[in-house]
C-alpha cells in the first residue's frame, strides 16, 4: 500500500509491503519514514493540539498539546475529556495540565505563558 509520510514537510511517498518477515518500506528519504510506516499500518499515532477553557475573562482559552503521540483512535475521547478541563491558574508554557491523559502515557501541556496581558 502507499502512504504519505507526515513526519516532516518533505511528505515522502512510501510504498509499504507487509511480508512474513515484517513490514518492508521503500520511498523514504530518512529512517524516520520507516518507523512512521510501520506504526501507521499497525497502530497509527498522532500528536494532538487544541485549547482548554480557562477561568480568566481576558484569556478565555489556552492552547495545549500532547507532549508525545497518542493512538489515533483515541483522539475523539481525548478531545471530549479536554472539554471538561478548565485552566484555573496562570500556567506557563510547558506546564503539565493533565498527566497521563486517559492512560495513554502522554501528558497534556500548556503551550503559552498565561500571565501575559490580554
Amino acid at each position: 500500500m502507499r502512504l504519505v509520510c507526515i513526519v516532516c514537510p518533505n511528505s515522502c511517498l512510501l510504498e509499504v509491503e507487509k511480508t512474513d518477515a515484517g513490514v518492508k518500506v521503500t520511498g523514504n528519504k530518512c529512517k524516520r519514514g520507516i518507523t512512521f510506516a510501520i506504526e501507521e499500518v499497525t497502530a497509527p499515532k498522532r500528536s494532538l493540539t487544541t485549547t482548554v477553557r480557562t477561568v480568566f475573562e481576558n484569556f478565555p482559552v489556552a492552547p495545549v498539546r500532547t507532549n508525545g503521540e497518542i493512538p489515533k483512535e483515541k483522539i475523539p475521547a481525548v478531545m471530549a475529556y479536554l472539554k471538561t478541563v478548565v485552566a484555573d491558574k496562570r500556567y506557563k508554557a510547558g506546564d503539565v495540565i493533565c498527566g497521563n491523559v486517559l492512560d495513554t502515557g502522554v501528558d497534556i501541556i500548556i503551550t503559552i505563558d498565561m500571565d501575559q496581558e490580554g
Binding site: V7, P9, T49, P63, R65, I112
Partner: protein
C-alpha cells in the same frame, strides 16, 4: 539624536527576532505592536510543526513565539509598546513616527526602521465571489482567531475555499471542535498545501477535497445559508452546468497572503512586483537607507524558522553604524522570486544567504550563479515546487560593474 537606534514595527516572530538581534548588538530598540500581546499570528497558531530547523523540535506556534517573547521581556535594551498603532512616518535625517494608542498621539524618532508588520489575507471579495453579504463568510485566519484565541466556534456547517496549509489546518481544527466541514474546494488542479497536511488534516477526518472546483456565489441574508460551487477549467473559467448548491452557515476562504506595505509605500520605498515586498540587499535593507523589511511583509514565508533568521540579519545590520552602500542588481531567470534582489558590495560576508521559489514545478533542477558569465556556484535539486521556498548559501564577491546572474533550469513538471 533619535529616541531609539532601531524601531521595529510589529511584534510577531520577525519583529521579536529583529529586536533581539539589534539589542544584543547594543542598539536601543523599541517594538511597536498594535495588539495587546506579543507573538503576532503565532498567538493563534496552536498547531505544531514550528521550529524544526531552528530548535530541532516540533513546537506549536505559541511555544515558538514564547521562546522569543521571554528573551525580549528579559532584555534591558528593548522597550515594547503594546496596543499602539503607527499612522505616519516622516523621513528627514532620522525617522519620525507618529503612533496612536490609549495614551493619545505620540511622536517617536528612530535612526533605523525595521518593518516587520507581516501580511494580510486575501478576502472573498478579492477572488470574485458573487452574491449577498451575509455573516459567516470569513478568512481562515479570522476563523482561527475565533476558535483558538476567543474560544468561539464560528459555524456548524463549513465549506472551505482554498487548499493552502492554513485552510487545511482550519478544516481539522473546526472538525475537532465539533463543526462539520463539508469539503475543501480548490480552483487549481493540484492542492496548494503540503501533502502531509492533506493526509493529517483531511484524510484523517474523512474531509473531501474537491480539485478544479471553486465557490461562485454565496446566498443568505443576515447569515450565510448556502454557497454555489462550480467546476473550472485550466483557464479558471466556470464550466456551465456543473453548478451545485451546498447548504452551509460558514464559508472559510484561504486563498493567499499579500505582504502589507502601506507604510513602506508612504515612504516611496520601491517594491518588487514578484514578492510584493520591498527590494532589499543582503542585510534586508530596502532601497531607502536605514529602512529594513523582514518576515512576511518582505515576502510570504512558509517556515517561521527562516523568518527569524532574516530578521536577525536585519537587526544586526540596524545596530551597526550607517555607511554608504554600493548596490549591485542581481539578474534572475527561472524564479517566481529571489531575495535579496540586490547586493551591497561594501558589506558582503564570505557567503550570502538567498531565498527563492521556482517559477514552476521542476525535476532534476540546477541553480547556477554566474559572475560576468562565469559559473561561480552550482547546486542540484531533485524537485522544486513554487509553494516550497528554498534557502541557499552562495559564496559571492563580485566587483562593481560586474554582472551577477542567478539562473534556474530543469525539466518542467506538468
Amino acid at each position: 539624536m533619535a529616541d531609539y537606534k532601531a524601531v521595529v514595527i510589529g511584534g510577531g516572530p520577525a519583529g521579536l527576532a529583529a529586536a533581539l538581534a539589534a539589542a544584543d548588538k547594543g542598539a536601543g530598540t523599541l517594538i511597536i505592536e498594535r495588539e495587546n500581546r506579543l507573538g503576532g499570528i503565532l498567538k493563534q497558531c496552536i498547531h505544531d510543526g514550528f521550529g524544526v530547523i531552528r530548535f530541532g523540535e516540533k513546537l506549536s506556534g505559541c511555544e515558538y513565539a514564547q521562546r522569543f517573547i521571554d528573551k525580549v521581556k528579559a532584555h534591558p535594551g528593548i522597550e515594547v509598546r503594546l496596543l499602539t498603532f503607527v499612522i505616519d512616518i516622516k523621513k528627514s535625517d532620522i525617522f519620525t513616527i507618529t503612533a496612536t494608542s490609549s495614551r493619545g498621539i505620540e511622536t517617536i524618532t528612530a535612526e533605523n526602521l525595521i518593518f516587520a508588520n507581516g501580511c494580510r489575507e486575501r478576502t472573498a471579495r478579492q477572488v470574485n465571489i458573487h452574491g449577498t453579504r451575509p455573516a459567516g463568510v470569513m478568512t481562515a485566519g479570522v476563523a482561527q482567531n475565533y476558535v483558538n484565541l476567543q474560544g468561539v466556534l464560528p459555524g456548524k456547517r463549513c465549506v472551505i475555499l482554498g487548499s493552502g496549509d492554513i485552510g487545511l489546518i482550519m478544516a481539522r481544527r473546526l472538525t475537532l471542535e465539533g463543526a462539520r466541514v463539508l469539503g475543501v474546494y480548490e480552483a487549481k488542479s493540484t492542492p496548494s498545501g503540503l501533502t502531509r497536511n492533506i493526509v493529517q488534516c483531511l484524510h484523517d477526518f474523512d474531509i473531501p477535497l474537491h480539485l478544479s472546483k471553486t465557490v461562485k456565489r454565496v446566498f443568505g441574508h443576515g447569515r450565510l445559508e448556502a454557497v454555489e460551487v462550480c467546476s473550472v477549467n485550466d483557464k479558471m473559467e466556470y464550466i456551465d452546468g456543473t453548478e451545485e448548491i451546498i447548504p452551509c452557515d460558514t464559508l472559510i476562504v484561504s486563498v493567499g497572503l499579500i505582504p502589507e506595505n502601506e507604510l513602506a509605500e508612504s515612504l516611496n520605498i520601491p517594491l518588487d512586483p514578484r514578492t510584493r515586498g520591498p527590494f532589499v540587499d543582503q542585510n534586508m535593507m530596502t532601497l531607502e537607507d536605514g529602512v529594513y523589511s523582514v518576515g512576511n511583509c518582505l515576502h510570504v514565508h512558509d517556515l517561521v524558522d527562516y523568518v527569524s533568521e532574516t530578521a536577525e540579519t536585519a537587526g544586526r545590520a540596524a545596530a551597526g553604524s550607517k555607511a554608504p552602500r554600493e548596490l549591485l542588481d542581481i539578474e534572475q531567470e527561472g524564479f517566481l522570486y529571489l531575495v535579496p534582489q540586490k547586493l551591497d558590495l561594501d558589506s558582503l560576508a564570505p557567503e550570502t544567504v538567498f531565498y527563492f521559489r521556482t517559477a514552476m514545478p521542476r525535476e532534476a533542477a540546477t541553480l547556477d550563479v554566474t559572475v560576468d558569465g562565469e559559473v561561480v556556484f552550482s547546486k542540484k535539486y531533485q524537485n522544486l515546487k513554487p509553494p516550497e521556498m528554498e534557502r541557499v548559501e552562495v559564496p559571492l564577491s563580485p566587483k562593481k560593474g560586474q554582472t551577477v546572474k542567478f539562473f534556474l533550469s530543469g525539466r518542467e513538471v506538468k
